[in-house]
Point group: C2
Chain length 149, copies 2
DNA sequence: GATTATTAAATGTATGTACATATATTTGCA
DNA sequence: TGCAAATATATGTACATACATTTAATAATC
């Protein structure tokens, strides 16, 4: 559906404004698709992304700082997202022995098992930008990089 | 800066995953730019977008339903955003005479004045996707529409 | 006309975002 | 050594998001 119809707006001032609105709208749309997918597994999107970073580090620990560095949203509160994951016993948290200010966070066996199930489920889904060809996806990335220059 | 460096990830699985991550990241980036811009004016981004819809309707009223229809994020809570705007006396809210379930919401003179100041300030800023040419912006919109097909 | 269904908005709860501040630990330097 | 600065994380508050439930008014059906 064209962006004009999605938000019931007849026209945009120019191509720039239209692309801007479309970018925000489409990113929200994608995030909602993903959230709905993760919901039956008891995970929110930021929780999933955090777990995935921890699996990437496994069996090495991650610190809160490392999570923030790799998260898409730098200003979100990694501490509290880890709180939620810890409450579900998907991660462990303990004071780093070599630097007692820092906290070593590791994905637990339960967490690895959950991500494993998600891998299977995601392979059977068409989440994300699957409607684009590889060339179009690459073109999109280039345009987005240019926006942030 | 390339997306790989922004989130400190060496490589992506494929062009699709890279475009997906880039899309979410860039939309967040744009929203943060805008939020920072609106902050000195005492507005959040959803509050600004709501006010702008109301100005589009002015002098006709809008209902909460109309706001939801036109908002980029359909699931956000228009009622409570209007609460905040009403507390700042930027909008008025009164029961619709012809349908007492509905509420007529109108932008106030203060609200119009604030948006006027924002128009001036925004004209002097480069918010949004200004780094693209018109052709690139149009191309971006087409790619985004295709994602949501 | 009374009862049920639908609609419009508000409210409740859990989570996340944004940003400021607090607490504890470590580092650097006078 | 002692004390200030820097670092790592946690906490507090306001706002927004996501989604379920509630309340009130209107429409539809019997």
């Amino acid at each position: 559906m064209k962006i004009e119809d999605e938000i019931k707006q007849a026209a945009f001032r120019d191509d720039h404004q239209k692309a801007h609105v479309n970018l925000i709208f489409t990113a929200n749309w994608l995030q909602q698709q993903q959230s709905a997918f993760f919901k039956p597994f008891g995970l929110t999107l930021p929780q999933f992304n955090t777990l995935r970073i921890l699996r990437g580090q496994h069996p090495r620990p991650a610190t809160v700082n490392l999570l923030i560095e790799r998260m898409l949203d730098k200003t979100s509160n990694a501490s509290r997202i880890v709180d939620k994951l810890e409450a579900k016993q998907l991660v462990t948290r303990c004071v780093c022995p070599s630097n007692r200010r820092a906290v070593d966070i590791r994905i637990s066996p339960d967490g690895l098992e959950l991500l494993g199930r998600l891998d299977v489920a995601m392979a059977n889904e068409h989440l994300g930008v699957q409607n684009l060809t590889s060339a179009e996806a690459a073109q999109l990335s280039n345009l987005l990089d240019k926006i942030r220059d």
